[in-house]
């Protein structure tokens, strides 16, 4: 087995050193109950060569349709962006990729410094004062935000606006219900997706911007409404590139901002690993979940970085911790911060402009198909169309023509009959004029051919 360094002579010598006979490794497993020690698992394959493993997995991979191989318009929480080659090279540096959580800061300054830089970038993007060193993904970060609002306000009800991605809503409902409090979910009508009320029992209003239909709106009035009732405003963002184009959630009055960071530096990966961004006002910092990296000095007075405020965390506080999380998405955060360093402010703004311009061009093209309407008046790089046929059937027929034409709304909101014919469509910098033309022609054919 190529990953195991011992020779049989090594094993014999080591067994002798521990005082066991040279054949009986099972003596080291003597505490295992009678009969539970297995000699074999006959239903599983035996060891395979590197070549053999590559062959099998490559063939499995070839049965999937990669986004870059076809005109591709699916979004809804995961976006097809280009990642510069430099980013993947950086995250494959051994010293980053194969390092552990930086519990010995003197020999983990590489990880700690980029986490500090990452926190600084996330705070700037979201318009907030503090950010943590990343979460599993945007949806679990949204769940943690609701738990945090509950801790801050000591109130038992969260209100989720209708435009929040239904999978995010489901995560919020699951963690809240299991934690013992109530979630009040608003309508899924795109026309009301930013509306929600707060009362004296409300811990927070959760709203997504751009929402799951792609719509954008000013959240300032909603923030005011939440604050008047003593509740927090939690803003969810699923498309991080939008920070380069749209007014920040912080500027609109958010108290906690959570986002999916996949769009910057991270591939689609069929849903994971992704990267949760989590930012808040500084006064709430002790109630935040996850890891925080802080600046300090070493014994010789030189600047250095450490994990800090760990007295919030499970390894110290155990059942009183702010969350049970002891993993972040360190390597995904590195991809994010390295890509954002390459972009800089000028590059991010330009990337966002291109995404928007391509989406506007796509909306115009699709709107020109007979009986197809763009339902989203203002958007960033994603919007919703209505077609005369069920969205799922249209997407299926488009896939047969080699086009991934978006996500049928019925896959996200199966219980909303008014959305049966709707499709959520996204464009990014990867979208070309030819892709748009191909999509338009195929849609015309599927609907009217």
């Amino acid at each position: 087995m190529r990953y195991l360094p011992h020779t049989d002579a090594d094993r014999r010598a080591m067994l002798a050193a521990v005082g066991q006979s040279d054949i009986d490794i099972d003596a080291l497993f003597a505490a295992v109950p009678e009969g539970a020690l297995r000699r074999d698992l006959p239903d599983l394959p035996r060891a395979q060569s590197e070549l053999a493993v590559e062959r099998v997995l490559s063939r499995l991979a070839a049965r999937n349709v990669p986004a870059s191989s076809v005109p591709f318009f699916a979004g809804a929480g995961a976006y097809h962006h280009h990642v510069p080659a430099t980013v993947d090279h950086i995250i494959q540096r051994s010293e980053f990729m194969t390092a552990y959580t930086p519990y010995q800061p003197e020999i983990a300054q590489g990880t700690l410094q980029y986490l500090f830089e990452f926190q600084s970038q996330v705070a700037a993007l979201t318009g907030m004062e503090v950010a943590n060193a990343s979460m599993y993904d945007g949806s679990t970060a949204a769940g943690e935000a609701v738990l945090m609002a509950h801790r801050v306000t000591r109130r038992g009800k969260a209100v989720v606006a209708g435009g929040v991605h239904p999978h995010y809503r489901a995560v919020i409902e699951t963690v809240s219900r299991l934690g013992g409090f109530e979630v009040d979910v608003r309508a899924v009508d795109p026309a009301t997706s930013f509306e929600a009320d707060a009362d004296k029992d409300t811990s927070c209003i959760v709203v997504q911007m751009p929402d799951a239909f792609g719509r954008v709106a000013d959240l300032s009035a909603l923030a005011e409404k939440a604050h008047e009732a003593g509740a927090l405003l939690v803003v969810v963002v699923t498309e991080a590139v939008s920070f380069g184009a749209l007014k920040s959630p912080g500027a609109m009055g958010a108290d906690i901002v959570v986002a999916e960071g996949q769009s910057i530096g991270n591939g689609l990966n069929f849903g994971g690993p992704y990267l949760g961004l989590f930012a808040a006002r500084k006064k709430f910092v002790r109630q935040m979940p996850g890891r925080l990296c802080g600046e300090t000095v070493d014994h010789d007075g030189r600047r250095g970085f450490v994990l800090t405020l760990s007295t919030r965390e499970q390894h110290i506080r155990r059942e009183k911790a702010t969350s049970n999380i002891c993993t972040n998405s360190g390597l995904c955060a590195l991809a994010f911060t390295a890509h954002l360093t390459l972009l800089g402010e000028a590059g991010l703004r330009k990337l966002a402009r291109i995404n928007h311009a391509n989406a506007v061009a796509l909306a115009k093209a699709l709107d020109s198909v007979d009986d197809v309407n763009v339902m989203t008046p203002a958007f960033f790089n994603e919007f919703t169309i209505r077609t005369p046929k069920p969205g799922a059937a249209v997407i299926d027929a488009l896939a047969d023509r080699g086009i991934i034409g978006g996500v049928p709304a019925s896959r996200l909101w199966p219980d909303a009959p008014t959305l049966a014919n709707a499709i959520v469509v996204a464009a990014t910098e990867t979208t070309t004029p030819d892709d748009i033309a191909a999509f338009r022609a195929a849609l015309e054919e599927v609907l009217h051919g």
């Binding site: 087995m1 983990a108 700037a124 920040s248 390597l331 402010e345």
Partner: protein, 518 residues
Amino acid sequence: MVEMPKVILPAVEAAAAPAPTFTGNRALQIEEPLIFEIGSTETTGVDFEEVAETETRLGGLERDDAIGLPGLSEPETMRHYVRLSQKNYSIDTGIFPLGSCTMKHNPRLNEKMARLPGFADIHPLQPEKTVQGALALMTELSRWLLELTGMHAVSLSPKAGAHGEFCGMAAIKAALEARGEADARRVVLVPVSAHGTNPATAAHLGFTVRAVEAGPDGTVSVDAVRAALGPDVAAMMLTNPNTCGLFEPHIREIADALHEAGAYLYCDGANFNAIAGKVRPGDLGADAMHINLHKTFSTPHGGGGPGAGPVVLSEALAAYAPVPFLRRDGDALRLVEHEADAPDGAAPFGRLAAFHGQMGMFVRALAYMMSHGADGIRQASEDAVLNANYVRARLADVLTLPFPKGAMHEVLFDDGFLKGTGVSTLDFAKALIDEGFHPMTVYFPLVVSGAMLIEPTESESKQGLDQFIEAVRSLALAAKAGDAARFTQAPRFAPRSRLDETRAARELVLSYQEKAAK
């Protein structure tokens, strides 16, 4: 066996002050500034294709404030991160003997496979017929996990070990709800030695934690469990092998006692590396267990993540697995994404994350499993246990062992051997850094004073272990000989000397602030 020559450490003069240079750099040790100090908001390292200017449809919400994001050119970016990387210790740098963390070799084949466009570049919501290979891979991974654990069902959703704990305990809560006993059973038993995630998880599910003490041999007795059991108990969370590096010999009786009392056994799977391919938790009576793919099946830890924590469930809990899950439909594989679409008998407790789990980690883990095969996985467990026992045997005369016998894949020492030396456990760990090694886990588990938990894993060769052992021996002898300065001033040769963690917490600086603003 062949004895390695003893490492003779040079006597250290007074504390060596950092050698002064004009730049603050020390040859290859470069003082790398923050991107905020070297970048500019005008600089970008990315070229874009031109697009035609079009109308704007942002609804009047254009961002008009300065964001304040520094940019670097591509060569500057590369240099910044490569220089930072050189300030890190990693498993590719040397042994990472962190008990309970399982830092083993990360094969690059896994990375290559995970980067195939057919896995890395597919969208979680593209039509199922365009991702049949990915769904087949998840099915095959599930088969391996079920065979290795002897369990009934698996949920691939959880994104890390602690997320898996939440999933397994949520399934237990759902089962209790279905039995109408959720309100009556609100207590979860957790041994004092457990990972902090266990009590935190139980608390986040609304349970109360009742601690169970371990016996003088470091393991939990059936009597201790029976004494803590009652009609109010929902489950016990037990790590096996436990965090003292010991296999819980009474686990079957403990499982039986729990089941007789109407409670469930949750196994923390963090230490599965010791027994994979040799012992199946399902055969021991477990009802749920998470599997840290990043530990046992070597997906890289990446400075703290991403992880992946699939959960295997017993027949009693299988129905409550969260959405999404896989279903075979004739020749095709499908995803059940909504609770309403669940087949008869299934009662998912909800949803844990937006999409289908850590696909990138699934590819890496399956590549690792296929490379080893069941025979290789068993050999890996045996080598991991052998290595820990070898370390135990060769250090037992200079360190102190809190428990008289046994070690699985990790071995626990305590600080008894440092008594009266003026050297703390932390000092000892920092001195190991100067010797070129990442320290072991210190001060965990909490059941012994000044714990030092060493987990070499199966990746370490005998020669590599001998070097580590000699360094630890030399340090232990130096401490006992009164050379305290070597320890209290350590590390002296790392990129940073000891960092002021109190100041970091007291004067919180969590993001870059321009000097002028300070």
